[in-house]
Symmetry: C2
Subunit: 139 residues, 2 copies
């Protein structure tokens, strides 16, 4: 399935801004980009896309399950492509480095906890904050 088909499958028209933003996200898998980051990349590529559009598109992508939105420590949002594989994050509070992980045991416990509380889970977020090995050395 190509990008255009992917957008249509999500119920979105295949417009230039949407295709480009999808491309950018695909080209930077594993990174966590803010709307501003994406906006700048678009401008660097001579694409006149408004920042408002970037926000709109990202919100639509999120609703369509194409991207995941995260809010690390500082509360401002970053995005990454959602490849169906949920994962959680370890975030270094000093250098901003982010590592991803997936723990089946934690996932299972979460389902059970929600179940016992009578909640139907839609999604969840687990962030572990701390100092990465490099930053521990630097004091």
């Amino acid at each position: 399935m190509n990008d255009e088909q992917r957008l249509k499958a999500a119920g979105l028209k295949a417009t230039v801004p949407r295709l480009k933003i999808l491309e950018i996200l695909q080209a930077r898998e594993g990174q966590h980009l803010s709307a501003e980051d994406i906006y700048k990349i678009l401008l660097e590529n001579q694409l006149d896309v408004g920042l408002a559009t970037v926000y709109r598109v990202l919100t639509q992508f999120e609703a369509a399950g194409l991207v995941a939105r995260h809010r690390f420590e500082d509360g401002h949002a970053v995005f990454e492509l959602d490849q169906g594989e949920h994962h959680d994050h370890l975030v270094c509070t000093r250098c901003g480095r982010v590592e991803e992980f997936l723990d089946p045991v934690i996932e299972e416990r979460q389902r059970r906890i929600a179940d016992e509380a009578g909640f139907r889970i839609t999604h969840h977020q687990l962030y572990i904050f701390g100092l990465c090995s490099d930053c521990q050395d630097k004091g």
Copy 2:
């Protein structure tokens, strides 16, 4: 230990705004208050405390380990007294209801994951979002 002593132990002068904010948080344990909420409560009690002061004090309290700051779905911050007992949250995305839980297994797995990645954990946050039992019924 009374409130005044608690503040001094945290390295903070025992000022009126700080004492009052601490009182408010204590009187509402289990609730999650925004800075604005606390500001309004102060005004209702005829206390002329500036909103900026509320934010400052809450940030200081957080740094001192007296309160925990959370960002649920919408990105804006809420606070609660930190009684030493870490816990995580189940949040209903429809009515905003929040339930707390603590799962030793999850806690343990987190420590191990951080360990294996070479991270030294400072703190972590786990939010499970979904619909509470009441809201499931309401469609």
